[in-house]
């Protein structure tokens, strides 16, 4: 039986969807057709609001939800969320940084983005205080935010990471244990800042986690953003990066490993909105077991303001068993002819039997040979993080996935 492999490539035309101003505050999201308008096709024209009440109930047909098992995350879409997460969050710093909990009315909130879907808006409407991390130091500093005891209660979280001009730092969001969480993470880079943000999802098998990351990258600033999703029932992390100033640079990396029944999703959006900005997107995933499902959507928008843009995005998936499904959807909207480069690549495929033969011909047993190949495939991304301790821990975590996974493979074949 062949595995279903969905591979879609589409390049949207640069025309605007319609003349309606969807970003106007106070306007409500409309159902397609209800107002006699064409459906929204382009990413730049998507509705956005901070208030959950402005969003229609989620049907699962919407562009941002159509790949997601919405039935499994109803509490995050419909109910009010518990917005007090302070006591459940542990922050460790390895250098100078200002860390404090701030009120939702604080001016530092809403500096990087606006929710574009209901779960994100629900978290925004529900959170009581936000974790603020500010990095000023020009010597590298690393901050780790641990969340491990969130339990089954539907919760909201809000985090603001601010890298001041010419600061250098790394922020790791380390997630484990149970969770039913929707959260927003705002990331602001001032001029010349170098910031790495890593979000690691090692949740329990039954956890649900929806995250929207909004980043705004200042002049000549560099953001490296890494999403590592290994554990959880439904995990969706959507990083959205606005390159608002000249010379802004973003690298978005992701690595994921989906087992039986797991849904791991990431919708990446890079908005080139200033001259000479650069973006690189590279996500790699492995899937094994019945019902393992991964989704990668990569939207890149190059606005008329973004002459000299240099952009490339790619996604690679390795399907290790039958019954797994990888959706990979790159979209490129280019609104100026004056760019340095824009490209995308996507490939999803099965295990290379020749690699297996080569390793086995050296005495290495089949299961170990598979592990070697998959580890190699995924470690290319892990090696980009730039934090040796975290890298080695994640390599071990991937290793554990592979060992655990080979058991479930056997079960699947039995």
């Amino acid at each position: 039986m062949a595995s279903p492999v969905t591979l879609t490539t589409s390049s949207s035309s640069p025309k605007k969807a319609d003349a309606q101003d969807h970003s106007r505050l106070g306007s409500k999201q409309h159902s397609d057709g209800g107002w006699g308008l064409v459906p929204i096709q382009v990413r730049s024209a998507r509705f956005a609001s901070y208030d959950v009440r402005d969003f229609e109930p989620v049907s699962g047909q919407e562009a941002e939800w159509k790949h997601t098992p919405v039935a499994r995350l109803q509490p995050l879409l419909t109910d009010p969320l518990d917005g007090d997460i302070e006591a459940l969050t542990l922050v460790a710093t390895g250098g100078p940084a200002t860390i404090e909990w701030i009120d939702r009315s604080d001016a530092r909130i809403a500096t990087a983005g606006t929710p574009e879907e209901r779960a994100s808006a629900n978290a925004w409407s529900s959170f009581e205080s936000a974790l603020s991390i500010r990095i000023d130091s020009e010597t590298p500093t690393e901050i780790t935010v641990h969340r491990s005891g969130l339990g089954d209660v539907p919760r909201a979280a809000h985090t603001v990471i601010h890298a001041a001009h010419h600061s250098v730092g790394t922020v790791v969001l380390q997630n484990s244990g149970k969770a039913m969480l929707s959260e927003n993470v705002e990331i602001v880079l001032d001029e010349g800042a170098h910031l790495t943000v890593v979000t690691v999802q090692e949740w329990d098998d039954d956890a649900t986690h929806l995250a929207s990351h909004f980043a705004t990258v200042g002049r000549d600033a560099r953001l490296k953003h890494v999403v590592v999703s290994l554990g959880g029932s439904v995990v969706r992390v959507n990083p959205s990066v606005h390159l608002v100033s000249e010379g802004g640079d973003v690298e978005l990396f992701g690595v994921y490993f989906a087992d039986t029944g797991q849904h791991l999703e990431q919708q990446v959006f890079v908005d080139h909105d200033a001259p000479n900005t650069r973006s690189r997107v590279s996500y790699k995933g492995a899937l094994q077991g019945l019902g393992a499902h991964t989704v990668w959507v990569g939207d890149v928008l190059i606005r008329p303001t973004a002459s000299g843009t240099d952009s490339y995005e790619q996604n690679r998936n390795l399907l290790l068993t039958d019954g797994a499904r990888a959706d990979s959807i790159p979209n490129l909207e280019i609104e100026t002819g004056d760019i340095a480069g824009a490209g995308h690549a996507s490939a999803s495929g099965r295990f290379d039997d020749e690699q297996l033969f080569y390793l086995q011909a050296r005495g290495i047993r089949e299961d170990e040979a598979r592990r070697l190949v998959v580890r190699g495939f995924l470690s290319e991304i892990v090696q980009k993080i730039g934090s040796p301790e975290l890298e080695s821990r994640l390599q071990s975590a991937i290793e554990a996935e592979l060992v655990g996974g080979s058991e479930s493979t056997l079960e699947g074949q039995a």
């Binding site: 086995q360 011909a361 050296r362 005495g363 290495i364 190949v373 995924l378 470690s379």
Partner: protein
Amino acid sequence: MSVLTVSDLHVSVETEQGTKQILKGVDLVVKQGEIHAIMGPNGSGKSTLAYTIAGHPKYHVESGSVTLDGEDLLAMSVDARARAGLFLAMQYPVEIPGVAVTNFLRTAKTAIDGVQPSIRTWTKEVTESMKNLRMDASFKDRNVNEGFSGGEKKRHEILQLELLKPKFAILDETDSGLDVDALKIVAEGVNRAKQNTGLGLLLITHYTRILRYITPDFVHVFVDGRVAEEGGPELADRLEAEGYDRFIAPAGLPTEA
């Protein structure tokens, strides 16, 4: 003394045109310490023999047997055959991204021996073998076969041969694509391995060139899926002078009923 025995081996592959018979009854006995050269024109089934013995899933054994000291190799998985003492140096080794040579070698050595090699002696052994094969020290940090030149790939194969110490090694056109300097280095490596471990060798080649540096005890000429002629090293000299023409049926006459 170990013996690798191939008896009346018939092998087919699936092609777009249907099942194709490649080996049509091959008999071969290789004893430890012997060097056998398998020569023949393209398409005669030389590589098929190599990959069938190693257990590549593409090749279907229709009948016949391959045994190592009486053990049925064909009943074993690819990795079990390697652990039983078989090694195949491949003509086109595949790239394995993200897997460093050093990690690969250690994993293979551990698999073959059943125990992890002692760190100190192993590192020394790897360093020494690499030096002998004129491989730069940085080589071990590169990913397996990734971005290797043709010569580097072949040296890497021989490095494994030296380190894994098999009872029998099949070298599938290890000489092809090598310049004369690289060929000498590779041949030295093979001779060194034989000297150190006394392994038996099955040297598959289209050309006689490598036989100037590795002297065979026996030469077998493969034509159309079987051994057409056998002899000592003098047969290689004759092939060098005459080529394969006399083994190939005149055009229009099918060689097989």
